[in-house]
Amino acid sequence: MSPTITTSSEANGNVSAATARAAASAAASAEAAGPQLVTLAKALNTALADAMHADPSVLVFGEDVGMLGGVFRITDGLTATFGEQRCFDTPLAESGIVGMAVGMAINGMRPVIEMQFDAFAYPAFEQIVSHVAKMHNRTKGAVKLPLVIRVPYGGGIGGVEHHCDSSESYYAHTAGLKVFTPATVADGYRMLREAIDSDDPVMFMEPKKLYWSKDLVDLAELRSSYSSAASAGQSSEGRAAVARSGTDATLIAYGPSVPTALAAAEAAALEGRSLEVIDVRTIVPFDDVTVCESVRKTGRAVVIAEAHGFASVSSEIVARVQERCFHYLAAPIRRVTGFDIPYPAPKLEKYYLPGVDRILDAVDDLQWEN
């Protein structure tokens, strides 16, 4: 039927990796040369297109991802470029989308599916927890599920109820899932390519308030450096980034909270305090090494996340750092997180979201007088 669709190169199929990689082509459409201001949305869109060029078993589907290009336009142009068999709309049913993706991954495909908003992914929770997370283990590795579930998440966009949840803790708590969340444009590109190429299922949490933030990046350079890293077997999975170097305290953040942490560090610098900012990048697997190295150096830490603090990723980070760095700590680790309340209405979200002032207050609280 479609000669362009073949079995996944690396999972549950027989086609060699080399064959699929040979199909890779520089998707350089009408890209300007050299560094340009590029949005996270564009970087993610480019990563999807490049992955589809590189591997014919990569399929994109979900709600409104076809003709419309997704409500956030992350899949813009993919149907036009790759056809309706490789990027298509499904009926409006999230469990159906994830469950069908499980079957497609069993049968040699690499589905990249979109949950339209964080809170709309909940109907798929059973498929994610009972099958996506467990299939590899249940079958002793016989069945791999190279599947990416993209979830636009978090608040800060004035969204109404059910459009602003930080749902990463549910997935991070589920054994068998990897959980990635980029905070920069370059990471958006590289981490999505890595998620698609991973033979493990990845929950790819996209901070929706950062979709339109821009960085100066060279997409062609990102593409070629990803290709050479991938062919050398290198991956940044499980590697946090030092987003800003500092000496006095460590701010640990991920996804939408990274720019806020950087702004707080900038403000603190004006007051003569040097804060290091760690961008966690992959919540699962977590980079204990980079995080602990920083905290041992500074002796103080604040963990920042939009999600509710109770029983959350931020709780986990505090526990891990405390277990590993207790004797280096000059003060208890503080957290600045969302309150333990349902996500507020748009006019109230500024009181809920971790902001620069609340972060600086927490930093002030780190027992400097000792």
Binding site: T7, A93, G99, M100, N107, H136, K144, G176, D200
Partner: protein, 411 residues
């Protein structure tokens, strides 16, 4: 009457169909090859299809429940004999496994005693390249598909969650979360269709599962993407204790199909002849591009849900007795014997084979399988994490210290 799903304005119809050929045309073309019209085909026949009655007699053609669009030839003798052999094996397997549970050698076994005709037909209607997605009660179907009996029973033996490789046998792991496997069946069929393969997928569930949301989503996805999936519902009348009347007031479960633009059929689930006739045609139609189909088989769970269940709390023994008279194995033995296809020697050969498999199960499941605690960490991910490496080292250390102290005590 034409059956159409044309909700779109004429100028936008088919503009947005995920790369599928217009569904209605494909269906019309596919059924035409079988001399059927879409109008006759879509709604289930007025009665269930039954070819051999409970007394083992072939019913006259006019009384089989067939009508235009729902006409089925009697399957060939070789297929029926193969089915009978599997029926006898299936019954023996069910009863052997229940015994092993009573003896404490297996944690639990949801028996398909009474439903063996459905189990056997589900496996025999498929070709080697086709896929099956079974539930926890479908162990006999998985064995009839050719998977090693002891491997099938691993899930109930308790040393791992599954014992066979789904890719090798094209059989999904027996699924416990109700109905979720129907969507996996849809995905397998979709992937095959995109690659231009002629795979047919049989997706199995029970009557209770038709209440789940995934049942609706799976049927709708299969219909919208026009996929070769046969949804095979074994209506055994109870979801643990809850009778069908509390699950659905639809005219029949097969009638649910038409709401998705899909054909449905009802069949006597204790008549393996009718089951094979209906499922064989369903597979052929699906392979020819008819799209999905829903088959509801009327059968009965003769035993409790599992050994942990007490069915006397929710059903009368008279009802169970009534269904015992409709037994699928006895019915088929009478039919084949009367037709001269089965004699004492044939019966003995089949019983010996069933007994050999029962022995294989007894031996395999009584064997004390060594477990490797490190395997807990080995398969969680394709590429493991530093955290799991740490936890694996922690367990290894614990075990080493336990072993050392045992050795110390022994001295």
């Amino acid at each position: 009457m034409t059956i159409s799903a044309d909700h779109t304005a004429p100028d936008t119809a088919n503009a947005h169909q995920a790369g599928n050929a217009p569904t209605e045309d494909a269906l019309t073309e596919a059924v035409k090859k079988f001399g059927i019209t879409v109008e006759d085909y879509m709604l289930p026949a007025r009665h269930q299809i039954q070819m051999v009655d409970p007394d083992g007699r072939l019913k006259p053609e006019g009384e089989q429940g067939t009508e235009p669009g729902h006409e089925y030839p009697v399957p060939g003798d070789a297929e029926l004999l193969a089915a009978y052999e599997q029926l006898v094996v299936g019954r023996r397997v069910n009863d052997q496994n229940s015994a092993l549970v009573r003896q404490g050698r297996m944690a639990v076994y949801p028996s398909s005693h009474g439903q063996e005709a459905c189990q056997v037909a589900a496996a025999l209607c498929l070709s080697g390249g086709d896929w099956m997605f079974p539930t926890y009660r479908d162990a006999v179907a998985v064995m009839a598909r050719g998977v090693d009996p002891v491997q099938v029973m691993t899930i109930f033996r308790g040393d791992w969650h599954g014992g066979f490789n789904p890719l090798e046998h094209k059989v999904g792991i027996q699924c416990t979360p109700l109905t979720t496997q129907l969507l996996h069946a849809v995905g397998v069929a979709h992937a095959a269709k995109l690659r231009g393969e002629d795979t047919v997928v049989l997706a199995m569930c029970g009557d209770g599962a038709t209440s789940e949301g995934d049942f609706h989503e799976a049927l709708n996805f299969a219909a919208v993407f026009h996929l070769p999936v046969i949804f095979f519902v074994q209506n055994n009348k109870y979801a643990i204790s809850v009778p069908l009347a509390h699950q659905s007031v639809a005219p029949s479960l097969a009638h649910k199909a038409v709401g998705y633009g899909m054909a449905g059929e009802r069949v006597d689930g204790n008549d393996v002849v009718a089951l094979l006739a209906v499922l064989d045609r369903a597979v052929k139609l699906a392979r020819e591009g008819s799209g999905p189909l829903l088959v509801e088989a009327h059968t009965y769970r003769m035993q409790a849900h599992t050994n942990a269940d007490d069915d006397t709390r929710y059903r009368e023994s008279a009802e169970v007795a009534e269904w015992r008279a409709k037994d699928p194995v006895n019915r088929m033995r009478t039919y084949l014997t009367d037709r001269g296809l089965l004699d004492d020697d044939g019966e003995r050969r089949i019983r010996d084979k069933a007994e050999a498999i029962a022995t294989q199960l007894r031996d395999g499941l009584s064997e004390d399988v060594p477990v490797d605690p490190q395997e807990l960490f080995r398969h969680v991910f394709a590429k493991t994490t530093p955290q799991l490496k740490e936890q694996s080292a922690l367990l290894a250390d614990e075990l080493a210290r336990d072993a050392a102290s045992t050795e110390e005590t022994a001295k």
